[in-house]
Symmetry: D2
Subunit: 336 residues, 4 copies
Amino acid sequence: MTLKLGVIGTGAIGQDHIRRCSRTLLGSQVVAVTDIDLVQAARVVSDLGISAEVYSDGHALIAAPDVDAVLVCSWGATHEEYVLAAIAAGKPVFCEKPLAVTAAGCRHIVEAEIASGRRLVQVGFMRPYDQGYRALKAVIDSGQIGEPLMLHCAHRNPRVGENYKTDMAITDTLIHELDVLRWLLNDDYVSVQVVFPRKTSKALSHMRDPQIVMLETARGTRIDVEVFVNCQYGYDIQCEVVGETGIAKLPEPSQVQLRSQAKLSNAILMDWKDRFIAAYDVELQAFIDGVSAGTINGPSAWDGYCAAVAADACIEAQGSGAIVPVNLEQRPAFYR
Amino acid sequence: MTLKLGVIGTGAIGQDHIRRCSRTLLGSQVVAVTDIDLVQAARVVSDLGISAEVYSDGHALIAAPDVDAVLVCSWGATHEEYVLAAIAAGKPVFCEKPLAVTAAGCRHIVEAEIASGRRLVQVGFMRPYDQGYRALKAVIDSGQIGEPLMLHCAHRNPRVGENYKTDMAITDTLIHELDVLRWLLNDDYVSVQVVFPRKTSKALSHMRDPQIVMLETARGTRIDVEVFVNCQYGYDIQCEVVGETGIAKLPEPSQVQLRSQAKLSNAILMDWKDRFIAAYDVELQAFIDGVSAGTINGPSAWDGYCAAVAADACIEAQGSGAIVPVNLEQRPAFYR
Amino acid sequence: MTLKLGVIGTGAIGQDHIRRCSRTLLGSQVVAVTDIDLVQAARVVSDLGISAEVYSDGHALIAAPDVDAVLVCSWGATHEEYVLAAIAAGKPVFCEKPLAVTAAGCRHIVEAEIASGRRLVQVGFMRPYDQGYRALKAVIDSGQIGEPLMLHCAHRNPRVGENYKTDMAITDTLIHELDVLRWLLNDDYVSVQVVFPRKTSKALSHMRDPQIVMLETARGTRIDVEVFVNCQYGYDIQCEVVGETGIAKLPEPSQVQLRSQAKLSNAILMDWKDRFIAAYDVELQAFIDGVSAGTINGPSAWDGYCAAVAADACIEAQGSGAIVPVNLEQRPAFYR
Amino acid sequence: MTLKLGVIGTGAIGQDHIRRCSRTLLGSQVVAVTDIDLVQAARVVSDLGISAEVYSDGHALIAAPDVDAVLVCSWGATHEEYVLAAIAAGKPVFCEKPLAVTAAGCRHIVEAEIASGRRLVQVGFMRPYDQGYRALKAVIDSGQIGEPLMLHCAHRNPRVGENYKTDMAITDTLIHELDVLRWLLNDDYVSVQVVFPRKTSKALSHMRDPQIVMLETARGTRIDVEVFVNCQYGYDIQCEVVGETGIAKLPEPSQVQLRSQAKLSNAILMDWKDRFIAAYDVELQAFIDGVSAGTINGPSAWDGYCAAVAADACIEAQGSGAIVPVNLEQRPAFYR
């Protein structure tokens, strides 16, 4: 059984997913695409050598009878609209992050999905599909380190472009930790504080970098995440879980160990795209398999909502310097 | 385009490959199987829920019109016969190691393939498809460590069963190094010597363990491989390449780093099946893609022949304690 | 030239220092001792086989004509009095931490030393003499990682006794970081905040553990120190300096790497006394050499005062949960 | 009690030892020196600011009544003569390696020492005093890895000068392994083989480099030592002991871990003098303490003899390419 997919948005990530479905993953076929730039959408179809119909817009694509499921890869501001349309059509939908640009938008989707009576939405958070994070979660869940008490994390990029603003450290960068750490701990955030260390001279004048985000969870676990997007030396993701009896650390990417020029060294990745490349495959395969089996269990609309609420609190905390509560609504039984 | 495969031999590795083609890899379908135990073959088909015909024997399977390519996973002694039959039928064939149980048998296959006029054979050596070995080769080929002068390797198993004899340390264990190190160095072996250290008390009485195999290549590179199949502590594959200006080491498998009970530790695998699990997928996908594209370029019949000749020399060296030449014929232009 | 030392306090640390001066270090001789328990002091002299006179109290010892310099190893509450007496006598004095039990006490010593016109006091902070911290400082000072922006530190003990209270995490444990990090960064603290994560079930009921102390320096560097004194797994000191262009990490103690029982591991120390054992020797040798050369340049009375002020702020922050300023007086020119 | 030392030879190592005794070690004083160049010897005395008499030659120095013990740091060819003279005078003698330039010379010393009736000689092998090797031996002796079966070692130098010949890879370089591995294993060598890999293009034309020395011990343990003296990248000493149940590896020197410029790295030493600098102190202190206590137990004349016999066999094996026996005489009861 091949799952017939329609892809809304044929930019970089959209093209990646189309290629993935066509050449790497099992059980799916892209039969429909659309984009705000229809010429570009047609060119992607022809460049990739697939036979997919180009639809005039996302709503037409969602409505197409041969489209079994939808991938939303368009501009963030349009996500909510298309996800709601897919739910209305009763079609499973994989939505790239963010699920919606506001927490309220996410909430609408949650309500619509609950009303539909079944899980239709998977949000494009790929880190829970990373082999390293999965191994880390397995160690935690095994009880080897006891109950988690603290997490020390870092999200570092070599550098960012001109259009990167201070709040994007939350919405574009930290957002991955906001999702994956909830999953890792099986816990919710209750408050957040942001402090700004001395600014690096390598950051552009309009932004503050680095920053340290400190989260508290419902069970009292304290998380600190260093977000440093002009660190120069590499793309480096760190996560150390301090438990009652031991500490577990996210594996460094596997690298050849070199002895050369008075150094014993391992390469550090420079490009974020190399870091989680395998996780993207696993994530989308999980969606395809989940839809085919009738059991989507990747990051849910509720997870998307929780990440959005936490991100809002972080941005407020950036501005105020105060400890800001993360006010989640009660988790619906539907998502338990 | 789906490649229709026939699988000869539905034992452990045969079942793995069938499962792999059905559930993990792209572009193939198992349409035919056979085994010396036809009841078992039928059960595998039904257990895996695939629709494949059970043929009475390997020759009937090879002859079947809807079989595009053949996987030989039967008992080693039958490999030569089936590979020759596949070549005779003009059908691409993936043959689990060994290609043949004698160097002469491998030579027959080489001759038959040359006579056929095109590459039809891929031997099931999976290590060249391992991400770690590929990264190591990339470092060597980049010139970062200069010309390779020495390799220090180890192939360690926690323990082996009763039926494992001293010469199997060559034919079942070292055989992987014999293949992958030729590929890594792009070089040929010219001589071999084997020494037996003090025997471990953990080995059964009928076998010698550990042993050290020392190979010399045509370019003068010296390789030592410690083969230790009752090392107790783990399945551990080591490969360190000493070049003129630096040293590169095969990555350890990526693991969570743990601080616990007065130890800073990373897990070592115990089961060999976990070590190269991803490489098996990549290897077989490469065969499927190669056949589909008309360019098989994995381990060739010539590589299988070279491994067989080197293995024979190693076994002679085990017995004599002397330095034994590895007498390869000249490499045919066909395999350049 | 042998420096003749008088030692006030012959408890554990006093005995260690006497032994050190007698058997390990060059250029000194213990000629005088005293203790609140004179019988014990006499026994120490006889057990160690040294020829030292036992004085009736610290003041008599300080006044003794053949005492060139004084080591204060008595109960903390007596330190201020003896250090002031030594300064009054114009004799160099090495004082175990704390220099005084209050910041005001430290201030008195600072004033007395300034009035004396020359450096007479070295405080017993040994970490700046640890080879690892020195190597770390050398890397920072070399400019290899750019300006320090953040420090991520941890101070972990396997467990603590009944008499250990929550504030001792500051005065007995964090105090070492308060000293060494100022030295490492050549900077001063301006504020501190303490948060309490979920309490470990391994801590006794009367204390909170772990805690995270967050310090800000005058140059804006942000420091987080995890203090976790019931971590079970080991005595583990971590310090990672995040600079503008790279990160430098305090070396782990050198250990044999073991492959055994499915683990690749290095031992972690369990006993804090093993961690800085070499640093104690270097520290005291530096005092002896400094006195002999007329240039004491180890941790100064001013450093002792700064640590005391910071510790007071940390204890206030433990209680209030707020960000507490660290109000240092202006550094006297004497200490520049 | 201060041990009064006479030092024969005031070249580089002689000066180091004089400085060590004067400024770092406890319990000794250099009271006499001599050198083939008496002017230089006098200058060393004056430069180091010690009060030592300059003697006309080694024999005069040995005879001097105030010389309690002798350090032989002169040209290798003179060692035997001075050590014998010291024994004849009944004075303890620390002799830099080699004990004698021939095995026969070492044998003479052994006989003379036995005849003297007590241990007078310590040979200047410093590696058994290295903290890393001691930790490694402790792990072996603890039984944690079972009986040692194989050792994989490397001795690498960045480069060597013009005067370094192929056989110096044995007499100047491997000689340290020949000593320390006997001590580590508490075992004797029975045979040796040397193979020459492809020569590095970085070696001068007159010498062969690298080489691999393979030793067999009386208990059957197999040792391979890579000797590579133009490896470019660093001074690097490796030693891995493969036992029946696990593997123990000599610690790498402790270094700051750096994340910088796309590399996670630790520095590798370039200068051999930095590698065992602490061991030289411990070694000579052990001699001083041993003499003072009447129990010299460092590397003995017998150890020097065994190293010399093994070195002779290695040099023969370099020439012949054959497996050469190491013919030790029976160990005298005196050295058990």
